[in-house]
Structures are given as C-alpha cells and as structure tokens.
C-alpha cells in the first residue's frame, strides 16, 4: 500500500476523483498533482468543490471514484493507514480548532508526544521552535481564548508544523479574519513557502495566491476548469476565470 516515492514523484496526486454528497456531484473527475516544494492554490467560487478536493487529500471525505496518492499512501483505498497518512499531512482549518482546554504549548506538544512518542522535554523544545516560526514565542502558556483570531490561526499552524508534515493543507485559513490579522497569517505562510514547504491551499485571497502560488488550479462546477502558473490570474483564458478574477480584488 505504501511505497517510498522517488524524488520525481509528486507528493500529492489526484486522478479523475469523483465525489458526491447525496445527489449532488461535488467533484466530477478532478485531477491535479503537487510536486515537492510546490505551492498550489485552489481557487474558485463557493460550491465549486475546492474545499472538498482539499479535504479528500487528508481523507476527511471518502471519494467515490478515482485515485489519490499522498506521500505514497493510496488515500482512495479503504485500507489506507489513516494515522500514517495524517503524520505526513498537516491540515489547518478556517476556524483554527485549537483545543480550548489546553495551553498553546499543550496544544502543540499533544500530538508529537501521543502519536510519535516524543519525550516531553523534547516536545517542549519543539513547541518553542515552531512558535518562534510563527512569531508567538511569548504565548507558550496562554490559552487559545486569550489570543486574537490571527494569533490562534498562527498557533494552529505551529501545531501542525510540530508534526513535521511533508505537505501542509490550508483550508481557507484567513476567511474568518479581518485584513490586518489576515496579513499576519499570510506572512507566516509566505515564510513557510520560502522554507520550501509543500503546500496546497484553498484561498479567496487572490492577491496572495498570485504572489505565493507556483500553480493555480481554478475549479468550476466540480471540475478543474483552468490551471497554470500564477500568471493565469492576470491573463485568464476561460471566460469563467476571467469573470471570477474580475469580481475579486486583485491586490498584490
């Protein structure tokens, strides 16, 4: 089930993925691949299937057809080792989802200690390191409710990083934040990209997608409608993408 991917193999690949919620066909034969170190932005209208596609990568949704390979795991198969998959994949959500009963440090050390068996002292060092990465060292002992939305989201990113994932998924991570807090979260993601992290992000921040993404996948009605380098946002070839970027604000 799990082969060691050769360096040339993509970290994430979807081939002809289909997914329905009841009678509603959400993914209608979606294919794309993400190479090591690549940043891929999934864009599209609400309901176009981009979030579902992202969630399928971490198997929060089971697909009805097609093939998904993530870090060598055959995610579409029922016998996929979910815990192994999720050690390789980090996911950050729109609503942060920090654990409210734990301090930021405990939020971060929980999974490394429980899943990987990292010693407590080592895990605490790790927590300091990842919090420094997101600029929140001083919040080590704070509880989530004491943090602003932007800080909570940065802490959630740090929590994911502590598991040292091979690929990070971002599901509209700035949609709940005002522009100022959005900027501080985006700076963290930019730094991750600069450090070479492989990332797939669903985003409505077109300016950000243009600045950071190596490749854009524009989804429309459950299909990959247009894909290409970030430049397709400024010179789209399909009328749908033209209309989509025309309605958004293309700040850089």
């Amino acid at each position: 089930m799990q082969q060691n991917p050769s360096p040339s193999e993509p970290i994430v690949s979807l081939r002809d993925v289909k997914k329905s919620f009841g009678p509603l066909l959400v993914l209608d034969g979606v294919s794309f691949a993400v190479q090591r170190g690549e940043v891929l932005a999934l864009i599209g209208r609400s309901g176009s299937g981009k979030s579902t596609a992202l969630r399928c990568i971490d198997r929060f949704e089971k697909v009805d057809g097609g093939e998904i390979v993530v870090c060598g795991h055959r995610v579409d198969r029922p016998d996929v080792n979910l815990r192994a998959l999720r050690q390789d994949v980090g996911i950050v959500f729109q609503s942060y989802n920090l654990f409210p009963h734990l301090t930021i440090e405990q939020n971060i050390t929980l999974a490394p200690c429980a899943v990987k068996g990292v010693a407590t002292a080592q895990a605490k060092d790790l927590a300091r390191k990842v919090l420094a990465q997101v600029g929140l060292e001083e919040k080590l002992h704070a509880y989530p409710e004491q943090l602003s939305g932007g800080q909570q989201q940065r802490a959630a990113i740090a929590r994911s990083l502590a598991m040292q994932p091979k690929v990070m998924l971002f599901d509209e991570v700035t949609s709940a934040l005002d522009p100022e807090l959005t900027a501080e979260v985006l700076r963290v993601i930019e730094q991750l990209a600069a450090d070479g992290m492989t990332m797939v992000m669903v985003t409505h921040e077109m300016g950000f997608a243009k600045g950071i993404a190596d490749r854009i996948v524009f989804m429309h009605r459950g299909k990959v409608h247009e894909t290409g380098p970030a430049s397709i946002l400024t010179s789209p070839t399909t009328p749908e993408l033209t209309q989509f970027v025309g309605t958004g604000n293309l700040k850089s």
């Binding site: 989802n97 409210p100 009963h101 909570q152 929590r159």
Partner: protein, 222 residues
C-alpha cells in the same frame, strides 16, 4: 399504636436518611460507570453496538423505576436468585441511572464541536486519544451541571426502594408511622429531610450552570 415521637424514632429516621444517601451513592457510582460505557456505546463506530445501547436506553427510559425495582427483587427471586433488598435496589437503580446518565453524557460528548474531532484526527491521534485527550475533557465541563442536577432525581427516586423492603428514609418513615400513626408530622419530617438533601445540590447545579454560561466562549470552536 401509641406513644409520642421521641428521640429513638428520630434516630431511626436518621438511620433511614443515611441509607438514602448510601443508596444514592451506590446508584450514582454504579450508574455512572455503566452510564459512561453506555454513552461511549451510543456513539460507537460499530452500528450493532450503537443499536444495542440505544435499545437498552429506550427500554429503561420507557419502564417505571417501580417496575424495574419489582423485577429486580421479585423477578430474580422467581428464577431462584435470592437477593437482598439492598442488592436489588442498588442494581435496579444502577440500571436506571445508567440509562439516563448515558444519554446526558452522550449529548455532552456530541456537543463538543465537530471541528475539534477533525482537528484531533488531522493530528493523527487515535480514536482513544481523541476521546481522552481532546473530547472528554471538554465534555466533562459541559456535563457537570446536568449531572449534578440529575443527582437530585436519584436521591428522590431512592424512596421507591421502600417497596422492596429496603429501609431507607421513606421506609423508615412508614415503619415509625405504623407504630405512632401520626402521618402528617412524620411525612412532613421526611419531606423536609429530602428537601434538605436535594436543595443544596440544586443550588450547586444552578451555580455551575451560571459559571458555565460565563465560560461559554472557551467551548466555542474558535
């Protein structure tokens, strides 16, 4: 018949009150343990386990406690199992309390926002780890006020154990009344004693709920 209410009668009632407390504690501990298993079974990934536990809850909730007590005491005797009133009352109340606490706690576990489960899943925690380290600590906070509130029901319902001859507060009152025949005075004493046991718990439950209300933001998903 004859005589007046004296210190010996009051001592006897006091002893009954202690057994009421004792039976309540047995019901709470036994029902708590079984109820916890029921709560987990109700949200099990296995459909058969979910159905079996749901059937149990429905059966118990649809049966008067009085009937459960009779079944426990006379039913077991009929099939040759002689059980003491304490054992019958303790077992019956345990089954009864488990059904209700199981449902209360299932609701509390499920009221922890779904994204919390997903976040824990995304971090590769096993189901047991998700439960013990992420969900239950949050569910316990939610569950405390209704659980304390339900304890009041348990205390009052132990009075039904008098029908199987278990001498708790109610039964001791009946016994004293049989010799004195002063029902109003005696049952007034009984009522006040129950109230004195239940009211502090009710107050405590209300206080907990108020505190929960203030701290609600800590339970929201974000």
């Amino acid at each position: 018949m004859g005589g007046h209410l004296n210190i010996n009668h009051l001592m006897f009632l006091g002893q009954g009150a202690l057994w009421t407390v004792g039976l309540s504690v047995i019901a709470l501990i036994g029902g708590g343990i079984v109820g916890f298993v029921i709560a987990l079974a109700r949200i099990s990934p296995l459909k058969s386990v979910r159905i079996a536990s749901a059937v149990y809850v429905q059966l118990i909730q649809g049966t008067p406690l009085l009937v459960i007590l009779f079944l426990g005491y006379f039913g077991l005797a009929a099939i040759g199992l002689k059980v003491s009133p304490l054992a019958a009352a303790g077992a019956s109340l345990t089954l009864y309390v488990a059904a209700y606490l199981g449902e209360i706690w299932r609701g509390c576990i499920q009221s922890v926002p779904k994204p919390q489960w997903e976040a824990a899943e995304g971090l590769a925690l096993s189901r047991t780890q998700r439960m013990t380290k992420v969900i239950l600590p949050q569910a316990i906070r939610i569950a405390t006020p209704p659980t304390v509130g339900f304890m009041v029901q348990i205390i009052k319902n132990t009075s039904l154990a008098s029908v199987v001859g278990f001498v708790e507060l109610m039964r001791s009152g009946q016994i004293v009344n049989n010799s004195l025949f002063e029902p109003f005075a005696i049952y007034a004493i009984i009522a006040v004693t129950y109230f004195a046991m239940c009211y502090p718990l009710s107050l405590f439950s209300q206080k907990l709920e108020q505190r929960m209300g203030r701290g609600r933001s800590t339970l929201a998903p974000a």
